[in-house]
């Protein structure tokens, strides 16, 4: 780990994992507590990025310089998140056009 670029950052894997946990929990918390769908989507983004961070961290600390599969996964996650955001926001717009609301309380037609 003598790359110039990485000097000055923590050499301890746990710090990255703890950061990821904090971000993930923040995401869950946001998802569970928000009534605004946009807020829920934001929470989901946080959880996805926490996952991506984990991939990068584990890949980086595996001491195998030639393996970038973790990084590839991170890029996939980012792409996935973008696609998901597009679809979700499209649905959201359609819902808003119909109901003039983005609150989960107003979107409860599927109750049994």
């Amino acid at each position: 780990m003598n790359f110039l670029f990485f000097e000055g950052i923590s050499q301890n894997p746990n710090s990255y994992l703890i950061l990821a946990i904090i971000i993930f929990c923040a995401g869950i918390f946001t998802v569970l507590t928000r009534k605004n769908i946009i807020g829920i989507l934001l929470g989901i983004e946080l959880m996805l990025n926490a996952g991506a961070l984990n991939f990068i961290a584990f890949s980086f600390f595996r001491h195998e310089s030639a393996d970038y599969s973790g990084h590839v996964f991170a890029i996939f996650v980012i792409v996935l998140a973008a696609a998901e955001a597009v679809v979700a926001l499209a649905i959201l717009l359609a819902v808003y056009q119909q109901r003039r609301s983005v609150s989960t309380d107003d979107i409860s037609d599927l109750k049994g």
Binding site: L32, I40, T104, D105, I107, S108, D109, K111, G112
Partner: protein
Amino acid sequence: MDQMANYIWIIPAAPLLGFMINAGVSFFYGADAPAGLKKLSALLSPAVILVSFFIGLGIFLEMLGHGESERAVSQNLYTWIKAGTLEANATLYLDQLSIVFVLIITGVGFLIHLYSTGYMDHDRSMIRYFAYLNLFTFAMLILVMADNILLLFVGWEGVGLCSYLLIGFWFAVPKYASAGMKAFIVNRIGDFGFIIGFFMLFWGVFHYSGTTNIAFDSLKSVVGSLPGWYLTTISLLFFFGATGKSAQIPLYVWLPDAMAGPTPVSALIHAATMVTAGVYMIARMSFIFIATPFTLTVISIVAALTAFVAATIAITQNDIKKVLAYSTVSQLGYMFLAIGSGAFTAGVFHVMTHAFFKALLFLGAGSVILSAHHEQNILLMGGLRKKIPVTFITFFIGTLAIAGIPGLSGFFSKDEILWKVYSTPNEFFPELPLFLWLTGLITAGITSFYMFRLLFLTFFGKFRGDDEEAYEEVHESPLTMTIPLMILAVLSAVSGYIGLPESLGGQNLIHKWLAPVLALKEEPVVNHEMESHLMNLSILVSFAGAFMAYVLYILKPATPGVIAKTFAPIYKLLYGKYFVDEIYEAVIVAPLLKIRLMLNTFDHKIIDAFVNLTAVVTKAISRLHGIFDRVFVDGAVNNVATFTQYQAGIMRNLQNGSMNRYLYYIVGSFIMIYVFIRIL
């Protein structure tokens, strides 16, 4: 040599082909076929019979070229029934006996087909008629050409069927249709005896000799091993079958009614061929009958009675066809009289001559009926001889022949029978031959009387119809009808000479021809002097009968009425045909109908009650089943549904539509799964 023998199969096949074509056309067009097809049918139907006749003639000529024992030819067509060791082949067999019948059937049959083309010319259903007639010829040929009893029975039943179809040909008239049914039912009674007879024969032959071959040739050699009483039972049953088909007492009642059919049918079936099936059958199985003198005695007595009774009835009948019908019954009596005396050749000889002259008489009667515009009552005829000379002359020859006037065929065959009856001793009753002979002689006189009565009433004297116009319109029949009459007249006149008895310097050719294939009694003592005396006596009787008819119906036409009044009871008895039909009605039919009513009551009261009870019980059980169904089966099903609904009621609360709640569930579930996996 013997090339013709390979074509035996054509003899029955040709009429069958004719039947199939006619039946097909008839089936396709119904009653109203185009005139062209009718003409074609009228051409085809006699033609196929002619083909059979020529093949038969060819085989006959070949037979003449062989020795006595090498004359029989046969052809196996296929194995018909194979059950265990029993094997019934469809084998055609021709020997001296059956070739005579084949020639009669196809020869006379052809003439009658030809005659029919004229007689049935105006009938809508002519094609159907020819289909039946061809089928009949086929069945009759199978009957006489059969190699074994079973195949014979096929023909036996086939001719019965055709007889029924043809008697009821004009089935739109209920009387005719019921005459057909009567013939069929009465024949079935006889057939019942016949069937039992041959079942017993199968069983007996198998039981006593171990063979299962039912061909006549084989039976001939094994019947000797059967016990006498058993054989007698069989032969009595066969004879009972013959009384049905050949119209003997007690089953002759159908034949007079069978005159409901078209006249050529009466000629072919009910005079010339089918009714002689019984004679053929017995002659074919002569080896059984000759071994059972008791049966022969029974046959003799029944035959003599039949001959006499039928002849006496014929005296008083006024319907031209009825007279001929009873005359046929009476003549069949003669044939059986011959058989009863063991003189099978004489019987077959009479079959042949009778076929000629009785076919002639019937066809002549048909010609008269057609000329007289469907008048059948001879009391309303008279003086027709000038109007229809050809019919008259031929009918006259036929009358001479049947009346036993010397020189014509009937005389020879009848006299042969009478002589055989007289000269054959009977083991049981020594006096019986004399009585039988006397009955036969008297019957001959009566025959001569009623036939000349018929002739005189029809053709002589003055016309007794309604008006002169009807008489003026009487016209001779077309050539297609008169030519067969002429041919048959010639045959009736000359065919007797092939049986010219030795006492007249003849050879008795037919006897010599048939003798090798028939089981015969020992020749009675030859006594030509006695034979000549008896012959003179019967000539005398014949002329006496004719003379009496001349006196009563030409010289003094008023006398018959006086006689009828003087002997009113006898006249009524004869005119009423001994009331046999009425007796059968009272003794058999009425009780049967009563039993039918009883069975009807039984049905209504007992069977129906039982059925209804069953229904009630079933209903009660069903009700119980219903309760069970509702309570238990439906209960189970409904409870499952209710329970599911109850569960669903609980579960639906989970799904309340709040997205946040769902998210909590998801996260909670993940945590629970994680914990679960960890614990495990």
